[in-house]
């Protein structure tokens, strides 16, 4: 009998204590900096090395480059860059291997759409997704190496 009453006491005390739920749809959720949301793509930095397409476990990145328009520079410029968010698992391996930090994660995670076609994000959309970009990046860029700050 005593256990039952103690249990009732706990719930009664909880009834009057502060609530811990937050009103997500009305108040936007604030994610920490490292949160792996939808990628942001910066076409100028991309050197079309295909590292991200290769490392992707679910092969959802497809990109094509084209030879550099102005003759003096050599190398390639990115032409189309698509991420298929139907199968992208946001595992963040692509931003790790990118040598020039062309692709970086942002904190946005709202990906719900009414049709599956909207889940094929192309280069411009990814470039447009430039809010809440992640600052603390681990990538092959020497600057982007693992920062040690505790």
């Amino acid at each position: 009998m005593k256990g039952l009453l103690k249990g009732l006491g706990v719930t009664f005390k909880a009834m009057t204590s502060k609530k811990i739920t937050y009103a997500y749809p009305d108040v936007p959720l604030q994610m920490p900096d490292r949160f792996r949301g939808i990628q942001h793509f910066d076409p100028d930095k991309c050197i079309v090395c295909n590292a991200c397409a290769r490392v992707c476990p679910t092969e959802c990145i497809t990109l094509t480059g084209k030879p550099n328009p102005d003759p003096d520079k050599k190398g390639k410029v990115i032409d189309t860059y698509d991420i298929n968010f139907e199968i992208c698992i946001l595992c963040d391996l692509c931003t790790e291997v990118c040598p020039t930090e062309a692709i970086v994660m942002t904190n946005n995670f709202e990906l719900a759409t009414y049709s599956r076609d909207d889940l094929y994000k192309d280069r411009d959309w990814l470039n447009g997704n430039n809010s809440l970009i992640r600052q603390d990046n681990i990538s092959m860029l020497p600057k982007g190496g693992a920062k040690k700050d505790v």
Partner: protein, 336 residues
């Protein structure tokens, strides 16, 4: 209201009675709507969350929205279900729950019928809804609902007896089954109420009442985690609403009965407070009982079927008989 009952039954009287009946129906439906809302709010608070807040100001229209939803929802009847019984079951559950409210005296003057067998009327009618539940379980041709139906039959029958036996003590004290005289027999101070002399009866009554309602420590018939939803798993749309309605009207009925039998109906706890109208005291005690039921639901785990049966038969029943014996001895010694 009282004098109306004495007059001869003419068309005009009949219409007045019908009018009062409809008014009372809306009062009860209003209670049910806000009891559901209140329950979800209270359980929400107890679980550190807010409960419904989105529909209407502070979520007040939440249950109204639910009922509208249930009205608009498609009312499917399983193909192989026994159609007639399937349709009859919710009716059989809901009607007794509403009919039972007739005999409960709310205040000195307010009350519908004053049967001299009020309590027996209550016990008899409330067991009809058991048939409805079993019928619903069987008719929807679903194994889970059949299991739920069988469980509820076993539970309600085995807890009907301790419920009635626990009240025999109160009847012996007041010498009559009529609820109005039982309330009359209780004085204006809380120590004159029935729950102190009849403390054993009161505890047994509370436990058996919670089990009658199929509420949490004893919510085996519609055990969410085992039988998915128990006997009303196949019901949808407004038929399902009937089952919910019946459950909450029984919460109203049981809380009212507890107030009347044990907590002194409309009597104030202290004689000096009797300038406040009786109805307010009734509603206060009544709401405490309702809150206690919701409080149990937020805290208690579910009991197992065999434990339920052994607890009912081996613990509650002997205690109830003991209570009767003690009351008899008490009356004999103090020849009240």
């Amino acid at each position: 209201m009282q004098e109306l009952i004495q007059q001869s039954f003419t068309w005009q009287n009949g219409l007045v009675f019908f009018g009062w009946g409809v008014v009372f129906l809306f009062v009860v439906l209003g209670f049910v709507t806000y009891a559901i809302y209140f329950e979800r709010k209270v359980i929400g608070w107890m679980q550190l969350r807010h409960g419904p807040t989105r529909v209407g100001p502070l979520g007040l229209l939440q249950t109204v929205a639910d009922i509208l939803k249930l009205l608009l929802k498609e009312d499917t009847i399983p193909k192989k279900a026994d159609r007639a019984l399937f349709i009859l079951a919710p009716v059989l559950v809901y009607v007794p729950s509403f009919a039972v409210l007739a005999t409960i005296p709310y205040t000195q003057s307010l009350g519908f019928a004053d049967l001299n067998v009020g309590l027996l009327y209550y016990a008899a009618l409330s067991s009809i809804s058991t048939i409805g539940v079993v019928l619903g379980g069987w008719a929807s041709n679903n194994k889970y609902s059949l299991l739920g139906g069988m469980r509820s039959a076993a539970q309600m029958i085995s807890y009907e007896i301790p419920l009635v036996m626990s009240v025999v003590g109160v009847i012996m004290l007041n010498g009559s089954l009529s609820l109005r005289t039982i309330v009359g027999g209780q004085g204006n101070n809380f120590w004159e109420w029935n729950f102190l002399p009849q403390i054993i009866g009161f505890v047994i009554f509370m436990i058996a009442a919670v089990s009658e309602l199929n509420r949490t420590p004893f919510d085996l018939p519609e055990a969410e985690s085992e039988l998915v939803a128990g006997y009303h798993v196949e019901y949808s749309g407004f038929r399902f609403a009937f089952f919910m309605l019946a459950e909450y009207v029984y919460v109203f009925a049981i809380s009212a009965l507890t107030t009347v039998l044990f907590l002194g109906g409309w009597h104030p706890p202290l004689a000096v407070l009797d300038f406040i109208p009786g109805l307010l005291w009734f509603v206060l005690k009544f709401s405490f009982c309702v809150f206690f039921l919701f409080w149990l639901r937020a805290t208690m785990p579910r009991i197992r079927v065999d434990q339920l049966m052994s607890f009912g038969w081996k613990v509650l029943l002997p205690l109830a008989i003991l209570n009767i014996f003690l009351t008899a001895a008490y009356i004999e010694i103090f020849n009240k």
